[in-house]
Amino acid sequence: MIEVLSSGALLTIQDQGRPGYAALGVPRSGAMDRRALATANRLVGNPEQAAGLEAVLGCCLRFHTAATVAVAGAPTESLKWGEAITVAAGSLVEIAAPVNGLRHYVAVRGGIDATVVLGSRSTDTLSGLGPARLRAGDYLATGPEPAAPPGRGHAIPAPLADAPLRVMAGPREDWFVPDALALLATAEWSVRSESNRVGLRLDGPVLARGRDGELRSEPTLPGALQVPPNGRPIIFGPDAPVTGGYPVIAVLREDDLGRLAQLRPGDILRFINS
C-alpha cells in the first residue's frame, strides 16, 4: 500500500488515457506527457499502459510495503531521477516541487490500481471520469507483479520551455487576418495562471479575426490552439472538451504535445510553424 502524505498542487492517477470515445463526448485524458509516464513504467518493468501518478509541484508518499519506483518528467534531485530504485517498507518518498518544469510522473512496479472506466484508470478533471484527485490520507494499491524485470538505463529529461513548440496551420487559419499565423510564430507568449490539464491559456498579442460570424461547434483534439474572441490562444490539453466553438488557428505537432506538461504559469514560450 502507498499512503499519500501530501498531494502537491494536484496529484492524479494517469495512464495513456481513453482515446476512442470522443463521439460520446469523452475527452482523451491520460498523462499530459504520455511519453514520460511510459518511460517511468518501462524503468520499473511495467507495460507502458500501466497507471502511474502525475504530480504537479511534487508530492510526498509513504510506502507501507517494499516497492520498485521510478520518476520521470520534470528534473528532480529528490530521488534518482529517471532510474528505478527499490524502497523498503515504511520508506518515505518525497518529490520536491521542481525548479524547472511542473510535473513528475511516478511509476510503481505493478502499476497503480484503480477502477477502469472506458479502458482507462485516468482522472479526467473536466468530465469527472476515473478516480477522484488524490488527497493526503488516501491509500493506493498496486497491481500484480509484471513479468518483465525492471528496465535498465536512464530516462532522458524532457526539453523545457526554451525550444519553440512546433505548430502546423490549423483548420480555421482562414478565419484570421492574413498575418495572424506569422504573428503566432514570431511573438513571445506567456502562460497564464488559469492553465491546467484542460488547456494552457496564453498571454501575448491579439490574434485578430479576419471575418465575423460564429463558428458552429466542431470536434477538437488535444494540441489544438483555439482562439476565443479576446484573441489570446488556448492550447488544448488532454482533458479539453471534445467539441469547441472557437476557431482553431494552429495545431501542435504530435511530438511536442508532452511538453505542455512542463510549462508553468509565467513561463515564456514561442511557436515555430513547421
Partner: protein, 196 residues
C-alpha cells in the same frame, strides 16, 4: 465539401451530411476514430497506414444517403415542469400546452455529442422553439433535465453547469459507465419525448 488540416494525424471535413460520411468512412483502412459535429467530421488516422490525402480522396467519393436516419429509436418519458417553461412560452408567444406539444411531437436525431460524456445534441426541434441560450448560465442543472438551445434539444446526463432552457426532466439514465454502451444516445440515435 472541404477537407481541412488538423495536425499530423487528423483532418476536419466540412460536410452537409456528417453522419452519412461517417458511415461511409467507418471501415476505411487506417481510420482510427471519427467524431461528428453538426456540419463537420473529424477523422483521426494512423499515419503509418493512411495520409490526409488518402482520407480526402475517400471522402470525395459519392456518399450513400444518410443511413443514420435508420438509427435506433429511444423513447424518453418527460415530466414537463421545467423552471424555464413559462419564460419559453412567453418568448415564443405560445401557450404552455403548445410548447409541450411541439417539443413532444417531434422525432429527433442525435447529430453529435459534446459538452459532457453522453450529452447528445438532438436536431429536429420545431423552429418555433429556437431560442438563444440563457444570458447567464446556471451553475448547476440537475441530471435528467430536458432542455433547448438554438436549434437543439438535449438532456443533461448528470448535474452540471449549463445555459440551456429547462423544459422538464426525465428519469431515464442517459450515461452509465457500467453499461457496455455507456451513452444511451450516440450520433445517429433517433429520439422521441413522451409526456409522462
Amino acid at each position: 465539401m472541404r477537407v481541412l488540416p488538423y495536425g499530423e494525424r487528423a483532418v476536419l471535413i466540412e460536410t452537409e451530411t456528417p453522419l452519412a460520411l461517417r458511415d461511409a468512412l467507418a471501415s476505411a483502412a487506417g481510420v482510427v476514430e471519427i467524431v461528428p459535429a453538426s456540419r463537420t467530421l473529424l477523422v483521426r488516422f494512423d499515419p503509418q497506414r493512411a495520409t490526409a490525402e488518402d482520407v480526402a480522396a475517400l471522402a470525395a467519393r459519392p456518399v450513400p444517403p444518410a443511413s443514420a436516419t435508420v438509427g435506433e429509436l429511444i423513447k424518453l418519458p418527460v415530466t414537463y415542469d421545467g423552471v424555464d417553461l413559462e419564460a419559453v412560452a412567453a418568448e415564443t408567444r405560445l401557450s404552455l400546452e403548445e410548447v409541450i406539444a411541439r417539443h413532444s411531437s417531434g422525432e429527433y436525431v442525435v447529430a453529435f455529442c459534446g459538452f459532457a460524456p453522453g450529452f447528445a445534441y438532438l436536431t429536429g426541434l420545431d423552429p418555433a422553439l429556437h431560442l438563444p441560450r440563457l444570458a447567464e448560465p446556471r451553475t448547476s442543472v440537475p441530471a435528467g433535465s430536458v432542455a433547448i438551445a438554438a436549434e437543439f434539444t438535449g438532456v443533461y446526463p448528470r448535474s452540471s453547469p449549463g445555459g440551456w432552457r429547462l423544459l422538464g426532466r426525465t428519469e431515464t439514465t442517459l450515461w452509465d459507465v457500467a453499461r457496455p454502451d455507456p451513452a444511451l444516445l450516440s450520433p445517429g440515435t433517433r429520439v422521441r419525448f413522451t409526456r409522462s
